[in-house]
C-alpha cells in the first residue's frame, strides 16, 4: 500500500471509530475542516507511526506543519523516504 493510501485509509478509520463526520477528502482541504479534532489527529499520528514507522511531527525540526490534507500526505511521504 502506498503512503498516500495508508494515510487516507487511516483518516477514514479514525473518523469512523470516533464517530466524526469526515469531510470528503481532497488535497486542498484544510486539516481543520476535515471534521477531525485534536484527539483524532493524535490517534491518527500514532497509528501512522505504527503503519509507516515514522512520526514526522516529532522529528521534523524546521519544516512547516502541514495545513492541508495534501501537505499532510506529503509530510508522511517525505518522512518515509
Amino acid at each position: 500500500m502506498s503512503v498516500r493510501t495508508t494515510v487516507l485509509a487511516q483518516f477514514t478509520q479514525v473518523a469512523k471509530e470516533q464517530k466524526r463526520q469526515l469531510a470528503p477528502l481532497n488535497d486542498g482541504l484544510a486539516l481543520l475542516d476535515t471534521g477531525l479534532d485534536s484527539l483524532c489527529f493524535a490517534i491518527l499520528v500514532s497509528r501512522l507511526e505504527d503503519a509507516l514507522g515514522v512520526d514526522p511531527f516529532s522529528t521534523a525540526e524546521e519544516s512547516a506543519i502541514p495545513v492541508t490534507v495534501g501537505e499532510f500526505v506529503k509530510f508522511y511521504e517525505d518522512a518515509a523516504k
Binding site: 471509530e17 481543520l32 489527529f41 493524535a42 499520528v45 500514532s46 511531527f57
Partner: protein
C-alpha cells in the same frame, strides 16, 4: 494581604477601572459588563440563592460566567460542573457539596433534572431588576478534578486563593482582550476569566463543539490580544496555517508539559510576542510562569524560602506550598501534607540548570490537558469475561502529549487467534466506548502473554 482581598468578585471587577467598553463574548452574543450593575442574568432570583450551595450546571459558558459574577458573595458555595461531567456522577457531587440550589440553562421540567429547593435558569438575556450587589459571604468555589475511580474529586477554593496569582496592576491604556480554548469551569480557564475581569479587560469564550478553526476565526475577528491554550490546542491551531488572522500580543500555554518544539513553533509563528508556559493544577494553583521560551523550569525556583510560591522536590515529585493552593477536598481525603506542601505527583528530572517534567508518579495520563487515571480504564477492560488483567498506560504523542493504550492479558481458554483476536479487541473497545468519555478510550489494544510486575508484586506502571 492584598488590596480588596475579601471583597466579592463583583466589587473587585467593578473596582478595576471603568466598566464601559468591557464585554464577555459568547459564540452567539456578548454581554456588556456595565449592564450587570442594573440587570441580572438570574431573572431577579438572586436573593433565593443567598447562603445556598449552588450547582452551576449549564452548557453555555457565557451564562456560567454571569452566574459566577452574580453569586460570589451571595452563595455559600458555587459548584462548577465542567461540560463533560457524566450524568452518573452528578448525584454524588451534589451530595458531597450539599447542593440545595441549581442554576442551569435548561428547563427545570426537563427529564433528569435533580430536585432541589431552588432552581433558576440563567441566560445571557439580562433582565432589568433592582439588584443590590451587596454580597458579603466568603463563598467557597468548588472545582471538579478527576479521581481514580472515575468519580470526580471536589476541590475547595476561595476567590482569594483563585486570584492569588493575579497581581493588582493599573489597567493599561489598551486593556487586554483575553481568550482561551479552555472551559472556564476548569482551573485553567477560570484563571483566564478572572484575569480578564480583574485586569480591566474583556474575554472571548470558546464553546463546546467549536471546531478549532471556527473558534480561532471568532477570536481573531474580535481582535483577541491574549490567548491561552494547552500545547495540544496550539498544535492544532498551527495546522490552521494563518491562525485565521489572529495577532495576539501574549501567548500562554498550560495544562500539559510544553516541549521545546511547540515553544519554538509559536515563537516563529508570532515573532516578538511573549510565549509563556505556566504550571498549575486545580489543587495547587498556579506555581510558576516561564517567560524565557525554554522548556522546563530553572532549578533556581526550587527551595526559595519565604517566596510567595515555595517549591521543593521530594521522592522525585514536585511539591508546592503557596497562598494559591486550594483549602481542601470535600470529603475525607487530605490535600496537603502536614508541612503544607501539595504533592503534584508530577515527576521532575534535573538536567544541568533546569528541571524537566518526566511523567506522573501515579501513572496518571495527560491527554491534551485531560487527566486520566489508568485504574478507571483498567476496571472497564477487566470487566470483559475474556480478560484476566489489563494495564493501561500512556503512549507519547506529539499532538496531545500522550494517548491512552492498553495491554491485555486474556483469561485462560480465551481464543486470541487471528479473526477472533480482532473480534475480541472490538468488543473490548466497544465496552470502553459505552462507559467512558472518548479521551479515556484506548487508542490501541494489544494482547500480551503477561504484564511486568514490580518486586513489591504490583503491576509495573511505566509511562512514556
Amino acid at each position: 494581604m492584598q488590596p480588596n482581598e475579601g471583597a466579592t468578585l463583583w466589587a473587585r471587577l467593578s473596582g478595576a477601572g471603568p466598566l464601559s467598553g468591557r464585554h464577555l463574548w459568547g459564540a452567539e452574543r456578548g454581554v456588556a459588563l456595565a449592564e450587570l450593575a442594573r440587570k441580572s442574568a438570574l431573572g431577579g432570583r438572586l436573593e433565593a440563592f443567598r447562603g445556598r450551595s449552588v450547582l452551576l450546571a449549564m452548557k453555555d459558558q457565557l451564562s456560567a460566567a454571569l452566574a459566577m459574577i452574580e453569586l460570589d458573595g451571595v452563595a455559600r458555595r458555587i459548584v462548577l460542573c465542567p461540560p463533560d461531567l457524566q450524568a452518573a456522577h452528578v448525584p454524588g457531587v451534589m451530595a458531597l457539596a450539599e447542593v440545595d440550589a441549581i442554576v442551569s440553562d435548561r428547563d427545570a421540567s426537563e427529564e433528569g433534572t435533580p430536585a432541589v429547593q431552588v432552581f433558576a435558569s440563567c441566560t445571557p438575556e439580562l433582565k432589568p431588576v433592582a439588584v443590590e450587589r451587596a454580597g458579603s459571604l466568603p463563598t467557597e468555589w468548588i472545582l471538579l478534578t478527576s479521581g481514580t475511580t472515575g468519580a470526580p474529586k471536589l476541590v475547595q477554593h476561595t476567590l482569594a486563593t483563585l486570584t492569588g496569582p493575579i497581581k493588582p496592576a493599573a489597567v493599561p491604556a489598551d486593556p487586554p482582550l483575553w481568550s482561551t480554548f479552555y472551559d472556564i469551569r476548569r482551573y485553567g480557564g477560570l484563571q483566564i476569566l478572572l484575569r480578564a475581569l480583574l485586569g480591566g479587560g474583556s474575554l472571548v469564550l470558546s464553546q463546546a463543539g467549536d471546531a478549532t478553526g471556527e473558534f480561532l476565526a471568532r477570536a481573531a475577528a474580535r481582535g483577541v490580544s491574549h490567548l491561552l491554550g494547552t500545547p495540544t490546542h496550539w498544535w492544532l491551531a498551527l495546522t490552521g496555517g494563518s491562525f485565521h488572522g489572529l495577532a495576539p500580543r501574549y501567548v500562554r500555554l498550560s495544562g500539559e508539559t510544553a516541549d521545546q518544539a511547540i515553544l519554538d513553533r509559536l515563537r516563529a509563528a508570532f515573532p516578538g510576542v511573549p510565549v509563556v508556559h505556566a504550571f498549575a493544577s486545580t489543587e495547587a494553583g498556579v506555581a510558576f510562569e516561564i517567560p524565557d521560551g525554554l522548556a522546563g523550569f530553572p532549578a533556581s525556583l526550587i527551595g526559595r524560602e519565604g517566596a510567595e510560591v515555595e517549591l521543593k522536590v521530594e521522592d522525585g515529585t514536585l511539591r508546592i506550598r503557596s497562598p494559591r493552593i486550594a483549602e481542601r477536598y470535600l470529603g475525607t481525603e487530605t490535600l496537603a501534607g502536614s508541612d503544607g506542601f501539595v504533592d503534584t505527583r508530577d515527576l521532575v528530572e534535573l538536567q544541568g540548570e533546569r528541571y524537566f517534567f518526566a511523567g506522573r508518579k501515579d501513572g496518571v495520563i495527560n491527554v491534551g490537558g485531560q487527566k486520566i487515571h489508568p485504574e478507571e480504564v483498567e476496571a472497564v477492560i477487566d470487566s470483559h469475561p475474556a480478560v484476566r488483567k489489563s494495564l493501561v498506560r500512556a503512549r507519547k504523542n506529539p499532538i496531545t502529549g500522550a494517548i491512552v493504550v492498553a495491554e491485555v492479558v486474556l483469561a485462560e481458554g480465551a481464543d486470541a487467534r487471528d479473526a477472533n483476536a480482532a473480534q475480541l479487541k472490538q468488543e473490548i473497545l466497544q465496552l470502553c466506548r459505552d462507559t467512558l468519555p472518548r479521551h479515556k478510550v484506548p487508542a490501541m489494544v494489544q494482547f500480551v502473554p503477561s504484564l511486568a510486575v514490580t518486586p513489591a508484586g504490583k503491576i509495573a506502571r511505566r509511562n512514556a
